[in-house]
Amino acid sequence: MRPNFNVRVLRDQKARTGVLNNEIARRAYLYVARNQSLPAQVRYQAQLQLNTFDKYTRPTTVKNRCTETGRGRGIMSEFGLCRYQFRLKAKAGELPGVKKASW
């Protein structure tokens, strides 16, 4: 079953595909724009080109959200789960190697 995904997850997926599709072109423009050995005019043009890219092509717009609920905060990055889903799954024994501490 598809989990209860919200619009923020859809937006994040859009950003991820946008990054994938535009990454090489963006890198090329970044190289030109940040290269101090190139003439200033060329670098400026490259920077203008960089600014024309969509917002959702920048890697910084991508946010790791909970893969189970889509929650954006309190994510355990190793598991891609928010803290509550992590607790539930760990207690159900669905996360290999994770055990409740007791001493």
Partner: protein, 106 residues
């Protein structure tokens, strides 16, 4: 003790660069090489969310696949029940006078 001439030191670094195959950049100018050197992050980013099939999607992919979507069934039943009680969605207004918004303002 005699100091080593700066030109000799520059020669040394140039030689060192040619030996170890690094770029000779005495003024530490920014070349933008790090944007080309870094690995591409897109391919791994796209695979973050696991691929999950819903029943309606599975039906579209395999038309012969005959499964009952209980959630959808329940939703449709609820809507029918609501309609029977006269709690369905209101009709689209034909004119401006019919619209509920203008009535509410009075």
């Amino acid at each position: 003790m005699s100091a080593v001439a700066p030109s000799r030191l520059a020669l040394l670094t140039r030689l060192r660069c040619s030996i170890f195959q690094t770029a000779y950049n005495p003024t530490s100018i920014r070349t933008g090489a790090k944007y080309l050197r870094a690995r591409l992050r897109g391919p791994s980013m796209v695979n973050y969310y696991p691929v999950q099939l819903s029943i309606s999607e599975a039906r579209k992919m395999f038309p012969k696949f005959d499964a009952i979507d209980f959630q959808e069934q329940e939703r449709v039943e609820d809507v029918e029940a609501r309609k029977a009680r006269g709690k369905g969605t209101p009709r689209k207004a034909r004119s401006k006078d019919e619209s509920r918004r203008t009535k509410r303002r009075r």
